[in-house]
Structure formats: C-alpha cells, structure tokens
C-alpha cells in the first residue's frame, strides 16, 4: 500500500526548460514564410490608409464607439452579426477538415502561439546563440555575461510584446493619432489597459510558458485529437524502419552504411537525438503520436538532414497515416480526401462561404424595422374612422447621406400620414425614426387586413423594400 502511494506522480510538475536547436529544411522554410506573411499583415495592416468620406482613413478599423467595423470598402454594423457567425462557422469547419486531413496543421504553422513562440525563440537564438550555448548559459552562475544576454533577451521580448499589444489597440482607433495620444498620455484608459494586459500576456505566453500553453491551456489542441482518423496524415516516426529487429543504434564504425546496419538487424535511426533537440514541445516523436505534438514538422527537417548526410533515404520521420504505417507494405503517403467526413466538411465550407459572399454582395444599403404601435392597437376617431400607428426605424448603411421616401400600397392615397416627416434624411451610419399613421373609414378598415409600406432611398429608387403590415380595427377584438 505504502509503496503504491509513493509512486504517485506529483500534482504539479515543474517546467523543464526547452532549448530548441535551429534547423534548416522544407518545413522550416514554410514556417518562416508563414511567420513573415502573418507578421507583415498583422503589424502593417493598421497603417494602411483608405479614403473615406466620414470616417478615419484607415483600411481596417473596428470603431467600437461608432458601433461599426470599417473593413476596406465595407462598413459592417452590429445588425450584420450573422456574418461574424458565418465566419466563425467557416473557420471552425475549416479547422475540422484540415485536422481530419493533415492533423494539427493549424497548431504547427498558423497558430499565433506558435508564431510568437517561434519569433521569441529566434530572438533568444540571435542573442544567446545555438542550443549548446544556451544550455551552457542556463547552467552557469549569474555573471555579467549571463545578465546581459538573458536581460537583453527579455528586454527584446517585452519590446515585441508591447508592439504586438499596441498594434492590436491600433485596430480600434485611428493609428497615427493613437501613437501621439499614447505617448502624451491622452489615449483612452481602455487603450492603456488593453496594451498593458496584452503586453504581459504575450510576454508570458510566448516567452515563459510556450509549450505549456498548448499542453495545459489551449482547448483546441486537445479536442483536435478527436478529429484524427486512421487515414489522417500526421508527423510519424516510421518505427518499423527506424528500429529494425534490434532497435536503433548510433552510427559507429561497422554499422555506418545501410547494408551493414540491415545485416546486423539494426534500424535506420542513428539515435542522433536531433529530432528531440529541435522540438519546441520538448517531446520525442519516436515515442509515437502524442498529445503534446503540435505537428510543426521541424523533426522531419532535422531527420532528413541527418539521413542526407548518411546518404540514407529521407522520410524516416514523415507525414504519414496510421493506417499506412500499419500496412504490411506501406505505400507512398498520400492525402486521403475521399472520405465522407472530409467531403461533408468541404461541402459545408463551400455552401457557407457562398452564402456569406452572397449576403455581403447583396446587402441592402439600409436597414429598416417597422413595428405597429401596440398601445393601443387602433384608435377610433371622432368621425368613426379607425387609425393604426406604426413606428418606422431606418438605418442608413450606405456611405453617403440618403433621403428615404415612404409610401403605402393597398390603401387609398392620403390614408398614410407621416406627420411632420414625410421623408427621412440620414447621414451614413445614422438611424432615424418616423411615426406613420394610417387612417381608414370604418367600412374599409373592416376589409383591410394588411397593407404594404414601401421604403426607398430617393438616390436609388430601385432599392425599394416593402414591408407587409397588419391593420387592426375594433371588429377584430376578441
């Protein structure tokens, strides 16, 4: 009993620092390209100018006080929240499909945690040197050199973190003005708080916590494993080839070429450990597929480099499927997309994207909401006429000032009374309210169940929208 208890793992495990070795190869180039592109877009986009009539000249501006999102030529209002829902849906399905096809590609190449960690490791590498130098620095006692190098690394990390946070804030207000206000202490409190919180969280997540975010914090990394199937391509170590009959072994004299190794029953893996040294998650891919693996492909690059130097065939660690690796004679790895799930996801993405594009392209230039006044539903006037009242709310979503004309169909001319506001002139993004009343003689009122209210911008009469409205009278009273 006692012995069993003593074997239990501690609830809390201290982080073991990971010093990744840099590596060259196909996947490293791809990751660097994605990093460069993503950073270029993220850091430069708030500075892209865009001429607008009545809004700051910024291509992408999330104008929260104005309750609108300015996205290049498009102005998105809160009423368009369905687009956000569609976008999130498409993103989620895309993640499901890609994960089903090639595993955690998002984690390995596109996730901001991976990108920023990559950038921070690059800074670390630039200041402190390659892996052995960093390990040495880590182990040596604090002295001037260690203080300067480690301090410099953290200072640069903080700088990058701050600029990341500041750029984020710049998406929400006119960026050039923000720089001025931020420096002179005039910016909104929200700007300072957001910048502060994001600076700290970026620094902590990408500098200090790194792979712990993926392992312990991130829910996506965990639930993506549910989407793996036997056909899914993932980063795998070909254990059959690597271990042979008697396991892996270093390339000592007498077991250096493939023929010599195969004769001895040794696998192709020369146990150089490079795949472990380059891994940003600190795992050994040769232990098999594991939840900590973010499938960044760096171990593939590392292994291929070694295989090349020994003149062994590449691909001891490669993208392959569980199914293929288990087959008696593994075929060339290929993408298995002809699966019900993948095709279903694909169809969903195509349909939803088409709907989103259709919805954006055919969006009206104004939003209208017409409600009948319900207190009271109808009024009997002194000559016996019945009057119903309606509240018309129009939001101008066009980029110019518009004048809206309101008329009715299905009731006699003159029955519709718009009071003092026969037309509504609205600035872009503004909402106006008109009170309409419809007055019908009792006989006609009894026959009229509904009528049409037609709202059209004067500048663009073809964009008329009609609303079917109910007309109430005393006989309808229960």
């Amino acid at each position: 009993m006692q012995a069993g208890l003593e074997d239990q793992l501690g609830l809390y495990q201290k982080r073991i620092p990971i010093f990744t070795r840099s590596v060259k190869g196909r996947f490293r180039r791809f990751k660097t390209a994605v990093l460069a592109l993503a950073y270029a877009v993220y850091f430069l986009l708030p500075w892209l100018p865009w001429d607008r009539l009545d809004a700051p000249a910024q291509a992408l501006l999330f104008d929260l006080p104005g309750r609108r999102f300015l996205i290049f030529g498009l102005t998105v209002y809160p009423q368009d929240v369905i687009w956000l829902a569609l976008l999130l849906f498409i993103a989620a399905i895309l993640l499901f499909m890609v994960t089903g096809l090639v595993g955690r590609a998002f984690c390995g190449y596109f996730c901001f945690q991976t990108l920023w960690t990559d950038c921070f490791i690059w800074i670390e590498h630039a200041i402190q040197g390659e892996r052995p130098a960093r390990v040495r620095l880590y182990r040596q006692p604090w002295n001037r050199e260690k203080l300067l190098k480690v301090g410099g690394t953290h200072a640069l990390w903080l700088l990058v973190s701050f600029w990341t946070a500041f750029t984020f804030v710049a998406y929400f207000t006119y960026a050039p003005q923000l720089v001025l206000d931020f420096v002179t202490g005039q910016a909104a409190a929200a700007a300072y708080i957001t910048a502060g919180v994001l600076t700290v969280s970026t620094y902590v997540a990408a500098g200090l916590m790194r792979e712990q975010i993926c392992t312990y914090v991130c829910p996506y990394g965990r639930f993506q494993s549910v989407m793996y199937e036997p056909e899914t391509l993932a980063v795998h170590y070909d254990a059959r080839r690597g271990e042979g009959a008697h396991g892996r072994a270093t390339a000592r004299a007498g077991q250096r070429t493939l023929d010599e190794r195969h004769a001895k029953g040794l696998g192709d893996c020369v146990d150089c450990g490079l795949c472990v040294q380059v891994c940003p998650a600190g795992i050994d891919i040769r232990d098999g597929l594991q939840y900590k693996c973010i499938s960044c492909g760096l171990c593939i690059d590392a292994c291929n480099t070694i295989m090349d130097s020994f003149d062994f065939p590449r691909g001891l660690i490669r993208y392959d499927s569980e199914q293929n690796l288990a087959a008696p004679s593994p075929a060339q790895p290929r993408l298995h997309w002809k699966r019900l799930k993948v095709i279903g996801y694909g169809v969903a993405i195509v349909l939803m994207s088409a709907f989103l594009v259709y919805s954006v392209v055919t969006r009206g230039s104004f939003e209208r909401a017409v409600t009948q006044v319900r207190q009271p539903l109808y009024v009997v006037l002194s000559n016996g006429d019945i009057r119903n009242r309606y509240q018309i709310r129009i939001t101008n979503k066009a980029s110019q000032q518009r004048t809206y004309l309101i008329r009715a169909a299905g009731i006699p001319d003159g029955a519709l009374d718009l009071g003092n506001f026969s037309e509504l002139t609205l600035k872009p993004g503004h909402t106006g309210v008109a009170q309409a009343s419809v007055r019908l003689p009792p006989a006609l009122a009894a026959r009229t169940r509904t009528f049409e209210l037609i709202i059209a911008p004067r500048e663009n009469p073809t964009e008329a929208r009609s609303e079917t409205l109910r007309f109430d009278h005393p006989a309808k009273r229960p």
Binding site: L5, E6, D7, Q8, L9, G10, L11, Y12, Q13, K14, I16, V276, G282, I283, D284, D287, V373, R374, Q375, P376, V379, V380, L381, S382, N383, G384, R387, R389, G419, N420, F421, L424, T425, G432, V433, Q435, S437, P474
Partner: protein, 306 residues
C-alpha cells in the same frame, strides 16, 4: 519526455514521526498558486482601504474612495463609496448629458421642436420616459387611457383642447371634470329619453320617439344639459364638457357593452350618477418647465394634436 523521467516521482515526508512510524507527506503548493494567493491578500488590503469594509461601532469604515454628487435639493454631497451615491452620480451625469437638449427645448417653439428631426428623436425617447413615469399610471403606457376612467390621448377628441397651448395648460394646472347626478332631479323615464337622445347623436341603436323627447329635454331648463354640452351637443372645451355627437366614448363604456340595451344602460348610468372623477393633477412644480414642454409635444404627437 526522456528528461522528465529523471524527475523524482517519490513524495517527500515532512520529516516528523509520530507514534513511532506515523509520517506526513509533504506536498507543497505550486509556487504560482502561492504567489496568486499573496496577490489576493494584497488586493484585499487595497480594497479595504478604498471601499467600505469593516463594521465599526454603529457604522462601518467607509474607505478612502469617495463619490461627489448633487442631490435633488441642489446640495453637493461627498460620501464614501456606495452604490446609492454611485447612482446619484450617474443620474447627475445623465442629467448633464440631457441638458443641451432640454436647453434647446426651452429655446424653441412647439412647432419648431415638432418639425426638427433631431429634437423629434429626443421627444420620442425623453417624452416616453417622462410619460411612463408620470402619466402612464392613469393614461396607460401608450396614452390609450381607460374607458370610464381616464381619457384616451391618442384620438383626435379633446375635452379641453388639443393645441400645444391647451395641452400645456392642462399639464400645468390640472383639470377637474364634473357632471351632476341627474337622478336627483329627473325620473327614470326622463333619463331613459336623454340616453336615447345621446345614443342617436352617435349612431347607436335607439328608440327614435324617446330620442326626440330626450332632445327636447336636453335643451329644456328641466335637465339643462345644453348649459355645458351646448345646444348642438358638441360640448364646450372651455369647461371640459365632452362632444356627445362623435364616435369617441370616454365615460359611458358604449364600445365595451355586450348589446344595444347595454349601450343605453351605460349612457343612463352616467346621466343618473353624474361624474366627479375626471380629475387630472397639476404638474407645475412637480416637473420642470422643460419637462412639461417635452411632455406637451409628446402628447401632441401621440396622434391627436391640433
């Protein structure tokens, strides 16, 4: 993974031994947890100093954080932080935000306010809030009133006049409607005749012989209805006597009656019993002049303004 395996997986003991061999495992809390705990302790101390915290004597320690507001008497008060003071401060801020609009209201004429799109929006929202607070208990949320109790403000029939000026006067000084109980001077037959006459004026089903007799009675000194309602029964707005010839009913619940007899009975009831419930309170002094002006335009725009 291989490095992790090097980590010791045995749990240390605290080093004490009781009863010979009873030992206690030492599982220290993770450092991040302990630091988070210290931070919460520091947070609590900062919180005590800023906000009301400890009971003290009959009161409590108010804390250093204060809120300054102007109360309804116009006095500036500074109080330690509490939600009531916070509400007062919020109300002050809201009033300050509304002030430019109310200033415009007092500077503009009724017609100007009603025709200005921006002011119209303000009247709709501020007027609705004021109406809901002060008027809706009687006149109902939409101003539709209650038959036999409170007049409908959304129709085009007015007891005291539906111009801006008349509505303003009604709001400022209030109204007191009165009709004597006629069962003290008339017998049942005469009241029935009068009821038939009143029904005939609005096209309600009636006995024409009785109506003719009622018409004569209406204009006679016996009943003397015409003193207030006029010889043509169209009412007199200067004294709040309703027009009896239109389709709008206020006191007699004719539209709600089950049948024609019920309609006549409703009219008879009003004539016999009279009315002393048409009382509207005066709002001058209870609301500011600007608020009354906003309400004037709001009520005028409910649909019946003249």
């Amino acid at each position: 993974m291989s490095e992790q395996k090097l980590q010791s997986q045995t749990v240390q003991t605290t080093g004490h031994a009781w009863d010979g061999d009873l030992q206690e495992y030492n599982n220290p809390l993770p450092a991040w947890w302990v630091y988070t705990f210290y931070v919460t302790v520091i947070f609590a101390i900062v919180y005590w100093t800023l906000y009301p915290s400890w009971p003290f004597g009959k009161g409590w320690i108010g804390g250093l954080s204060t809120i300054t507001y102007v109360n309804s008497e116009g006095e500036t008060k500074t109080h330690s932080w509490n939600t009531r003071a916070l509400l007062m401060e919020d109300l002050n801020q809201a009033a300050a935000a509304q002030k430019p609009y109310f200033d415009k209201v007092s500077a503009m004429s009724y017609e100007q306010i009603a025709q200005d799109p921006e002011m119209n929006g303000f009247i709709l929202s501020a007027g609705k809030a004021l109406f809901s607070d002060s008027c809706a208990p009687c006149h109902q949320a939409g101003g539709q009133g209650v038959i036999a109790f409170f007049p409908n403000l959304t129709d085009d029939d007015w007891l005291y006049g539906g111009s801006f000026e008349k509505i303003h006067e009604t709001l400022m000084q209030g109204r007191r409607g009165y009709m004597p109980a006629f069962n003290e001077v008339l017998d049942g037959e005469q009241i029935d005749q009068l009821a038939n006459y009143v029904a005939s004026l609005s096209g309600v089903k009636h006995d024409s012989a009785k109506a003719a007799a009622g018409g004569a009675l209406f204009r006679s000194e016996t009943a003397a209805c015409f003193y207030c309602h006029g010889t043509d029964a169209k009412g007199r707005q200067d004294m709040g006597a309703p027009n009896l010839t239109d389709s709008v009913w206020l006191w007699a619940d004719v539209p709600g009656a089950e049948n024609d007899d019920g309609k006549l009975a409703a009219i008879r009831g009003v004539i016999a019993g009279g009315l002393a419930k048409g009382v509207m309170p005066a709002w001058a002094g209870r609301l500011t002049p600007e608020q009354i002006k906003v309400l004037t335009v709001y009520v005028h725009e409910l649909g019946g303004g003249q």
